[in-house]
Amino acid sequence: MTKTINLTLKIWRQSGPGSKGRLETYIANTISTDMSFLEMLDVVNEQLTLDGKEPIAFDYDCREGICGQCGCVVNGRPHGPENGTTLCQLHMRHFSDGDTIFVEPFRARAFKIVKDLVIDRSPLDKIIQAGGYISASTGGCQDANAILIPQDTAEKAMDAAACIGCGACVAACPNASAMLFVSAKVSHLVLLPQGRPEAAQRVVSMLKTMDELCFGNCSNERECEAECPKEISIINIARMNREYIKAGIASTVQ
């Protein structure tokens, strides 16, 4: 027998980027605890559509926790109360009957609200673009094991590469800084030999772009690593700081 719960939802509604938004109240009754948070919103939207009302716009894609497209702030926490979980993988069994749930979009000056809970994450793409390329040899294929990478290094690079670019770090940061995101992208390339040749230029360009896009400054509050659905550590931020210092004072990169 499936357990069901009744909820009161306070959801941010905003018709467009420039318009004024507000929290609106919705009742969601007989929600199965086996549903994901997004499926619960689907149920609410079905009812709104039947009632002839505008459904709530929210972002999603894979619903498997790997694409980085979904994400809202649920009761003050990006991707909800569970650690290491994206919103699509958050299940309603973590809520109780009669709960009131506040759902807000990820808020930052750099993330414009497109509609309701949908935000424009393209500033994160711009930071990645600023990172540029890695040098790769052309010509015949070299032996797969020609470049040796210790297992431990490969693991660290992979931990950083686990970043799905969802923007929860920005949403969680009291300063709306994107340092965890940028440091994950910098780290996953800089740890590997293939990422070393352009390391100095990459870190300087990515940070410059982050600053230009009006993200805040890191003050080591550690909210980002606490909320990251991929549990990326702030040790990456320290690594990026090191790379930035090296690039700034010891390389010829301007």
Binding site: G76, N220, M240
Partner: protein, 213 residues
């Protein structure tokens, strides 16, 4: 030369300035506390310490101007970071909840910093920019700490300083890129130890003086 401004003008560069100046202040506080411990030696020991210090003449003046410059950088950069960070999220959340990263000390950093600035001005006016022709520094100190209000004010100020160091100390290592699985637990421990040493070390002095005075 432009690269220097670009380097320190970026978000990480500004944090580096905060970290480096902060590290200097930890060094200064260590010296200040060791010197102040002569208060436990009584009137002559403390006055002798002050005399020896002032006998250094131009060295002291140089250090004073140096500290003033560092303070100017720390305060100005801190304010800039605070304002930029406020602007980075123009619409606030209706519900704010910590995921467990934030501490009281980290959340209050800009406010404890500003409070310390105000305290510093008061502290300098009370003990530094004061006519010492017909009196000694020990008499000024013991007279000041005969007042219960003044003692309480200093103790509260030292709690604020301890809170600021609690986050500032480990944070400066992180900003300088010194985060290593082997050493970070020690840095974190050091953060607590330093904040307690400065908080209790300075905070207990007014109490001691008022009872011994």
């Amino acid at each position: 030369m432009q690269w220097i401004f670009d380097f320190f003008g970026s978000s990480v560069g500004k944090k580096l300035m905060m970290a480096l100046t902060g590290l200097c202040f930890i060094g200064f506080l260590t010296g200040h506390l060791i010197g102040n411990l002569t208060l436990y030696g009584g009137r002559d020991a403390f006055n002798a310490y002050a005399e020896h210090l002032h006998a250094l003449g131009p060295v002291i003046t140089l250090v004073e101007w140096g500290l003033l410059t560092l303070a100017a950088i720390h305060v100005f950069t801190g304010m800039l970071l605070f304002l930029q960070n406020l602007k980075a999220r123009p619409v606030r959340y209706a519900i704010n909840k910590s995921g467990g990263g934030r501490t009281i000390s980290s959340a209050l950093m800009p406010y404890t910093g500003f409070a310390i600035l105000l305290f510093l001005i008061y502290h300098l006016l009370q003990f530094h920019f004061v006519d010492k022709t017909f009196t000694t520094i020990y008499d000024i100190v013991s007279l000041a700490f005969a007042n219960v209000l003044n003692i309480s004010f200093y103790i509260i100020a030292m709690v604020v300083v301890a809170l600021h160091i609690r986050h500032g100390f480990w944070s400066l290592f992180q900003t300088l890129g010194a985060n290593h699985p082997k050493y970070m637990p020690m840095v974190m421990g050091g953060s607590l130890v330093f904040s307690l040493i400065f908080g209790i070390g300075f905070g207990f002095l007014p109490v001691y003086i008022s009872f011994s005075g």
